[in-house]
Symmetry: C2
Subunit: 224 residues, 2 copies
C-alpha cells in the first residue's frame, strides 16, 4: 500500500466513457450547458447531471449559473493538460491507426486546446515568435519580451486584457511533440483568428479549418 495524491480517484472520473466524452467536448474551450453535454456524451439528462455532479465534486469542472442555464467548463489549464496527456497515450496505444482520415489530419494541423490554438500551425507560430525574439523562451516558461506589447498591438491584440491568468504559457502538443502557446495571449490569438474569420471551428470537433485566404493572412501575420 502506498500514500500520496489519490490518482485513482481522478483517473476513474475520466475513465467513464460518458464523462470522457464530456471532458473531451469541454477541451473545445467553450463552456457548455448540461443538456449540450448530455447530447455530446450520448446519455440522458439525468445521467449527465449525475456525471457532472461527480466531476464537480472531483474538482475537474467549474460551473457558472446564468439564469436557468448552468455552464460547465474545465476547472483549469492543469486539467486540460492532463487530458491532453491521456489523449497522447490513448493515441499511442490505441487501435493501430485504422484510418488516419481527413478529420485526424485537420486535427493535427490545427485544433482548439481548451482556449487556444494547438497543432502544427500553433507550434510553428510559437517557434517563429521566439525566433524573432518577440517572446522569450526561458524554461518551459515563456516570457514576454520588450517588443511583445508593441508587436501584438500592431496586430490588434492587447496583451494585457485579462489579468487573472498567466499571459504566456507553454502547452505540450500530443500530435507534434513540441509546445505551443497557451495563456491569455494564446487565447487572444485564437479569438483574433476566429474573429477575422481566417478559420472556422469544425462543428462538434476540436478541429480548426483555415480558409485559403485565412491561411495566407495567418502566415503573413504570424509566420513571417
Amino acid at each position: 500500500m502506498r500514500e500520496g495524491p489519490d490518482i485513482a480517484r481522478v483517473a476513474s472520473l475520466v475513465g467513464d466513457p460518458a464523462r470522457a466524452n464530456m471532458l473531451n467536448a469541454l477541451m473545445g474551450g467553450t463552456a457548455l450547458t448540461a443538456s449540450e453535454l448530455a447530447l455530446e456524451a450520448g446519455v440522458s439528462l439525468p445521467t449527465a447531471s449525475s456525471h457532472l455532479g461527480k466531476l464537480m465534486e472531483g474538482g475537474l469542472l467549474t460551473v457558472a449559473s446564468q439564469g436557468r442555464h448552468r455552464y460547465y467548463g474545465l476547472a483549469g489549464p492543469q486539467v486540460a493538460g492532463m487530458i491532453e496527456a491521456i489523449t497522447g497515450v490513448a493515441e499511442a496505444v490505441g487501435p493501430k491507426r485504422v484510418r488516419p482520415g481527413p478529420r485526424d489530419g485537420a486535427m493535427r494541423v490545427a485544433r482548439v486546446c481548451y482556449d487556444h490554438l494547438a497543432g502544427e500551425r500553433a507550434v510553428a507560430m510559437l517557434d517563429r515568435l521566439v525566433a524573432k525574439k518577440i517572446l522569450l523562451r526561458d524554461d518551459k516558461e515563456i516570457r514576454l519580451g520588450p517588443a511583445t506589447a508593441s508587436h501584438f498591438a500592431a496586430i490588434g491584440i492587447d496583451v494585457y486584457t485579462k489579468p487573472r491568468r498567466p499571459v504566456c504559457r507553454a502547452c505540450l502538443d500530443w500530435s507534434v511533440r513540441r509546445s505551443h502557446l497557451a495563456g491569455t495571449l494564446g487565447a487572444a490569438i485564437l479569438d483574433k483568428i476566429l474573429l477575422e474569420k481566417w478559420a472556422r471551428r469544425e462543428k462538434n470537433s476540436r478541429a480548426v479549418i483555415f480558409s485559403p485566404p485565412g491561411k495566407q493572412a495567418f502566415e503573413r501575420v504570424f509566420l513571417r
Copy 2:
C-alpha cells in the same frame, strides 16, 4: 457522441485503486515482479495478475520474463508523463493538504521519476546546466551542446551509452511547475547519484534522500 482516441479506456485502467498503486510503484523506475506489485497494491496474487493482464492489454506495461519471474515495467516515458500529469491534478484537487508531512517534503525536494531524478533539486540542476550552456534549451526539446560530452566525461558519465532512447528530454515536474532532465542522460545522472551513494531511495517510496555530504558533492558537481 464523438470520435478520437479512446481516452476513457486508458483512464479507466488507471482509475482502479489497485492498478493505480501498481503504476505508482512502477514510477520508481525499477521493474517489479507480479508478487511485489500484488503486495504494493494490497491485493492477492490472482487479483494482481488479472490487473497486470489488463494493463498489458491496454499497452501501459511491458514485461520481461526472467526464469520464473516476470518483471513488469511502464511501457515508456509517455506513460510516465501521463501518470505525472494525473498526479499533478490529484495533488491540486485532493483533500486540502491534510498534513504536508516530512514524506511529502522529501518528495518535493528530490524523487525518482521513472528512471531519472525529479523535484526541486533536479530542476535546479537542469537550470544550472543550461545556464552554463552545457545543455541547450531550444523548445522543450533540450539538446546536447559542443561542451556536453567532455563535461560529463569529466564527471564520469558517458553521454552516449544507450542509443535507443533520446539522450535528453524535458519532463514537467508536478510539485515545482518547471521541467527537469529526463532521457538517458537523466537516467545516467541518477545512476551516478545512487552509485556514489550521495543519496538513497526511501524504501517503498519515490523519495530520494540525500546525505549531508552527498548533497554537498551533488552541489559541487552539478550546481556550481
